[in-house]
């Protein structure tokens, strides 16, 4: 009797693994940047090409670095959410305009609205490589010390914002030095790692 049950068990176990596999997204690669300092950059500002914007300008603030491009279709998906975030002053959003012609980028912002406090022009994509960007949009959450605390791959959704990003932002805003244990606990609410 038992020997006939063995295949059943094997199939059941396989089934559990396959079922779990259905809900995993192979596009989501765990970022090695979490809890690491954000790579330094200093790039031209989109609005004023004569001056530069650097991640160091943001020390002491909790902010989002949103990687986007005018050629990126998925960026349009999250754009209305970014706009409403900017209207409500939820968290300052800075843009990294990735591999894009500044004129196209400006045109895109004129057309769809501009949620960004400032935009840095990464025309060649070097900074993108330093940040391990492999798909646009990507959003990095950076704390007051300039450490990356979370990364969203792909378009940001309102539920992700509510359940994952904002709780971490609020926690980071409370203290000067981030409490890693609390953040790790909060990140469990996030769909992406």
């Amino acid at each position: 009797m038992v020997r006939y049950l063995i295949p059943l068990f094997v199939v059941l176990i396989l089934g559990v693994f396959l079922y779990r596999g259905l809900h995993l997204d192979p596009r989501e690669v765990p970022s090695p940047f979490i809890n690491k300092p954000a790579p330094d950059f200093s790039l031209q500002r989109l609005h004023d090409m004569k001056s530069t914007f650097s991640n160091k300008d943001m020390l002491g603030k909790v902010w989002l670095l949103n990687v986007w491009a005018s050629w990126c279709v998925a960026c349009r998906e999250e754009h209305p959410l970014l706009i409403s975030m900017a209207r409500k002053n939820m968290v300052p959003i800075y843009g990294l305009n990735y591999k894009d012609a500044p004129r196209d980028a400006q045109g895109w912002l004129d057309q769809h609205g501009d949620p960004y406090v400032e935009n840095a022009v990464d025309y060649k994509g070097d900074v993108g490589i330093n940040y391990g960007v492999y798909g646009v949009p990507e959003t990095f959450l950076i704390d007051k010390q300039g450490v990356i605390r979370h990364k969203v791959i792909g378009p940001l959704t309102s539920s992700e914002l509510k359940n994952c990003v904002m709780p971490i932002v609020n926690e980071l805003n409370k203290t000067e030095q981030a409490n890693v244990a609390v953040i790790t606990e909060l990140r469990k609410q996030c769909s992406s790692t």
Binding site: P26, V29, P32, N130, Y134
Partner: protein
């Protein structure tokens, strides 16, 4: 008449070939991306070990995705600066995570991945040996007893009788 046509044809072909001459002279081999073939070979070796994250089942060397081309250029620059393969792979892993390695690194979280097939092999062997042993017992020769021989005999004869009696359906 026939010869005439042939001569005409030959002349035409010769003229056409003549027309090709200047082009032949100016035709060049395709210029490789980097003129240094040795460097290019190294770049190829290294990028073959790196996964393209846009099209995940391709290496950076194989992929034509824009990111892969950028990363290939990045690797080319690093090789030109004299960095070793380990340094370059480290650089990529720091940015894109372990997943960027086409060949997973050997570390505690990947022991099962590397060892799994061998464990399965050993398990399979054990099951096979056990089964073979069991089979040996099952198929051991046990001669028929006298009664069994008699029974077999009648069965065989009864069978052949039935067939020759011929009430079976035509096949």
């Amino acid at each position: 008449m026939f010869i005439d046509v042939k001569i005409k044809q030959t002349i035409t072909v010769l003229l056409l070939l003549l027309g090709l001459l200047p082009h032949l002279a100016s035709a060049k081999e395709a210029v490789p991306l980097a003129s240094d073939t040795k460097l290019e070979k190294r770049v190829d070796d290294i990028t073959s070990e790196l996964r393209c994250l846009v099209c995940q089942n391709q290496t950076i060397a194989d992929s034509h995705a824009e990111l892969a081309i950028d990363l290939k250029n990045q690797v080319r620059g690093m090789v030109a600066k004299g960095q070793t393969q380990d340094q370059i792979v480290d650089y990529m892993v720091k940015r894109y995570g372990d997943f960027v390695r086409y060949r997973p690194a050997m570390k505690p979280t990947t022991y099962l991945l590397w060892g799994g097939p061998f464990i399965l092999l050993v398990l399979g062997m054990v099951v096979l040996i056990l089964n073979l042993k069991k089979r040996k017992i099952i198929i051991q020769d046990s001669p028929l007893s006298e009664q069994e021989t008699a029974q077999l005999d009648t069965l065989l004869h009864a069978d052949s009788g039935a067939v020759s009696g011929g009430e079976g359906k035509p096949s």
